[in-house]
């Protein structure tokens, strides 16, 4: 089911895409589409991850730092042949889940605020990543090659980047989890009204912890893809501000920061719109320093428009209802007369 909000987002993407394509036909060139698709895949994975936490009523600010820390750990593990790449993937994803568990525990059981916990995470993991590599750039030694891993993460299938395919699979699985499973229903319930959820016998803290585990576990998967895409990681800047891309995509896609609202489809469309906007800045010759300014303006306009639309819808509904009531009163009067 596509809702009205998602439909508007889709229309917006198509309009922006069409305008860019008319001004600069290179937008539709296979190489540009493929690159944009790759970025959508990479950013989409951790944006979907973020949505779980936002729907629970929380926020995860340490995404960028997790991507940097797990990226350097992953490269370090496999570049020197300590472990083979399969084991490396498992270790990194497990560390991601562990980080998520700690965040969720501190929030749901200890009662700290999500913003505070994950802000501390943002600082800690960034610092640890920089210390881990001694401020050096982590990368693969000259000539090192991991054909399977590289094919899996950075390969293309008829021009479709595997990162996009991975994103599509993750999206479908997560959409089923969120929109069809008992856990998903509980997650919305906890985000909307934690007290009523508890009164209905839902173990609310378990649900919240699970949301952070899913978020950070998926972020770890994204970290691997991003590490294999950049192939070298300078721990001070790798992944900077990525949490903001994720939050922006979720908000564009209809998630409320108060929790309990949003859909996976919306987050996917939000991610696509953000990447198309990035692409627009490049292709239309807008100074790239304005990148964030363009993104911020579009989100602000989007949120304002959404507010205006829903106000009009409510006003319309109230008008219809009061007209109905008047009609009923008149009809009653007429009957009596």
């Amino acid at each position: 089911m596509i809702n009205r909000k998602d439909l508007w987002l889709l229309v917006l993407i198509l309009v922006v895409g069409a305008v860019v394509a008319i001004i600069n036909p290179r937008f539709l060139s296979p190489i540009n589409l493929s690159n944009t698709a790759n970025l959508i895949g990479l950013f989409g994975i951790f944006a979907v991850a973020q949505a779980f936490v936002i729907i629970s009523g929380g926020i995860e600010l340490s995404v960028g730092s997790i991507i940097a820390l797990l990226g350097v750990i992953f490269i370090d593990l496999i570049a020197n042949g300590t472990v083979n790449s399969g084991v490396g993937i498992v270790i990194v994803v497990l560390i991601g889940c562990l980080i998520g568990f700690v965040h969720g525990f501190l929030i749901a059981k200890v009662g700290l605020q999500p913003f505070v916990v994950t802000l501390c995470g943002l600082l800690i993991y960034r610092g640890v990543a920089r210390y881990y590599t001694d401020e050096a750039t982590a990368g693969f030694p000259f000539g090192a090659s991991f054909p399977t891993l590289e094919w899996l993460t950075a390969g293309r299938f008829y021009g479709v980047p595997h990162s996009l395919i991975a994103f599509a699979i993750i999206t479908i699985v997560m959409a089923v989890v969120l929109h069809r499973s008992v856990f998903g229903r509980y997650l919305y319930a906890v985000g909307k009204n934690e007290e009523a959820a508890r009164y209905s016998g839902i173990h609310t803290s378990r649900i919240i912890i699970a949301a952070y585990v899913i978020c950070c576990g998926l972020t770890a998967v994204a970290a691997i893809f991003i590490a294999m895409y950049t192939r070298s990681i300078s721990p001070a800047s790798h992944g900077n501000f990525y949490e903001l891309y994720a939050i922006a995509a979720a908000v564009l896609g209809g998630c409320s920061l108060r929790g309990g609202e949003g859909s996976i489809l919306g987050v996917v469309l939000g991610t696509v719109l953000l990447q198309v906007l990035q692409n627009l800045v490049n292709l239309l010759g807008i100074p790239s320093s304005l990148n964030f300014a363009v993104m911020g303006s579009v989100i602000l306009i989007g949120v304002l428009a959404d507010q205006e639309f829903s106000r009009r819808r409510i006003a319309g509904a109230t008008r219809r209802a009061s007209r109905g009531a008047e009609a009923a009163v008149q009809a009653a009067g007429a009957n009596r007369g």
Binding site: V176, R180, S181, Y186, A189, E195, R198, G201
Partner: protein, 500 residues
């Protein structure tokens, strides 16, 4: 008697469908202490809200110092020197005592920065506290004060506004005996300074002690004005009660069976020094009466696993039950219909369907995936059984009327096998027709073998619905009443702490 400075004449208030006040008159003379008593819903708070300018009366007149008006604004009320000390204190506990007293009216040092003159603030607050005999200074942080001390801060604030009339709403409900005695002596000091007090309380002994005159409200009317020796708890109770019971109620089909829940020496964190022992029998509706704050809701929370027991044991069906979480309580067949349905009972933004199935979603799911058709069928089934009036099960629960919302809360539990149902204020804010339906559902459940605990502050409901009543007072059970002993008088005297 001194000449009244404030007179309310023939005050009425009509709400849609309810006449909250019907021609009430009240005059206040300087230095007079007036007790205002009546059951919940008798119109006390509406009358006081009119006095505070928060509620506009539908009829009547208010004279202040000879100036007549149809209604008061909040500003006019404050200028007339009317001040409130609310049940929930309105203090900023992150600020000092002096800062709270003069909030919004802080003495400033000159200059463009508008800095607060801290020294002047404390200097001005000190005499007010002294006048009340407070044992703390103006610099004390409000967070460090006891509830009784916070009340003094509120009263000091009232005095700083040149209050002539202080309205105290249930001021002693959370105070210890010695704190209460101190508060009453503050009222006497105010009286000596010519400040009048309206003292609203369910604690009739205190009212007897302090009031010069008592006004009894019932169903929005003044039913008695007592003075001097006529002020006794017995006469007050006699005037507070006395309505005919409507025939909304149905007796049980069979005598009650064996105990289904037994509480043995249960102690809750509310008042850990008190123990509670009671049992609910199969097929019985046990009413739990008592004043607000007597610990009834806390008891319900403990049985439903929301709060851990401090001590004692709960047996269900004869075996000790572990009730450490609502889930465990639900799995043992203990369900709660909470007091605040909008906050704890329902997710208002969720469709009716999702609310109905929320507690029993596993029954509509396989391998963790919700079977949408089974869920819809379960919700539609309950909707039909309880006659929940809504366009479809997809409409938001928040859009339903109060009575239908309460039925949705109930529907949540009825798809499972209820052994024990706790209703906390089951018909608060529900119109009479829906009330009757809720009572009928409760009786159906008990006739089908469930045990029901009904917490209620509505006397008529307690007497009409219950097969037996337990009355709580300050965290303990002050007595049990059998069906034949049920009267408002008996319940009220147990609720104010007399034992039978």
């Amino acid at each position: 008697m001194a000449v009244p400075f404030l007179t309310m004449t023939g005050i009425s208030k009509q709400y849609p469908g309810v006449r909250a006040l019907d021609g009430v008159s009240l005059a206040v003379a300087p230095g007079e202490v007036i007790g205002l008593v009546g059951e919940n819903g008798a119109g006390k708070s509406t009358l006081m809200k009119i006095l505070g300018g928060v509620v506009e009366p539908s009829g009547g007149a208010i004279d202040i110092d000879g100036e007549r008006a149809d209604r008061l604004s909040v500003n006019r009320s404050m200028r007339a020197g009317i001040a409130f000390v609310h049940q929930e204190l309105n203090l900023f506990d992150n600020l000092s005592v002096a800062a709270n007293i003069f909030i919004g009216r802080e003495p400033l040092r000159g200059g463009p920065l508008r800095l607060i003159d801290q020294a002047a603030l404390n200097r001005q607050a000190a005499p007010l506290l002294k006048q009340l005999g407070a044992d703390f200074g103006p610099e004390a942080s409000v967070a460090s004060l006891s509830l009784a001390q916070m009340q003094l801060v509120e009263i000091a604030k009232a005095l700083s506004l040149q209050a002539r009339l202080v309205i105290m709403d249930e001021p002693t409900s959370s105070l210890t005996a010695s704190e209460t005695e101190r508060l009453l002596s503050v009222v006497r000091r105010l009286k000596a300074d010519g400040v009048s007090t309206i003292f609203i309380s369910h604690r009739l002994a205190e009212v007897e002690h302090i009031a010069d005159r008592v006004v009894v409200l019932r169903d929005g009317r003044t039913v008695a004005e007592l003075e001097g020796a006529a002020i006794t708890p017995a006469t007050m109770i006699r005037h507070m009660i006395g309505r005919e019971l409507k025939t909304l109620y149905r007796p049980p089909a069979a005598p009650p069976g064996e105990p289904i829940v037994e509480l043995r020496d249960v102690r809750t964190s509310h008042r850990p020094e008190q123990t509670i022992t009671l049992s609910i029998r199969r097929g019985e509706i046990l009413g739990l009466a008592g004043l607000v704050g007597s610990g009834r809701t806390e008891l319900a929370r403990a049985v439903f696993g929301l709060d851990a027991l401090v001590g004692g044991e709960i047996r269900i069906g004869g075996v000790p039950a572990a009730l450490a979480s609502p889930r465990q309580a639900i799995d043992s067949g203990v369900y709660l219909v909470p007091e605040d349905r909008k906050r704890s009972g329902l997710i208002l933004d969720f469709p009716v369907r999702d609310n109905v199935t929320l507690a029993n979603l596993a029954a509509c799911a396989r391998l963790g995936m919700i079977d949408a058709a089974a869920e819809e069928a379960a919700a539609t089934d309950q909707r039909g059984k309880l006659d929940i009036r809504c366009a479809s099960t997809a409409v938001k629960a928040g859009s339903l009327s109060g009575g239908n919302q309460q039925k949705v809360v109930l529907a949540k539990w009825l798809s499972m096998a209820p052994r024990v149902l706790i209703f906390d204020e089951p018909t608060r804010g529900i119109d009479v027709g829906a009330k009757g339906e809720i009572y009928r559902l409760m009786r159906d459940l008990s006739d089908n073998g469930a045990g029901i605990l009904m917490i209620s502050s509505d006397m008529e409901e307690v007497i009409g619905v219950s097969d037996r009543v337990a009355v709580m007072h300050e965290g303990r059970i002050s007595g049990f009443l059998e069906r034949s002993q049920l009267s408002e008088q008996n319940i009220l005297s147990l609720a104010v702490g007399r034992t039978n």
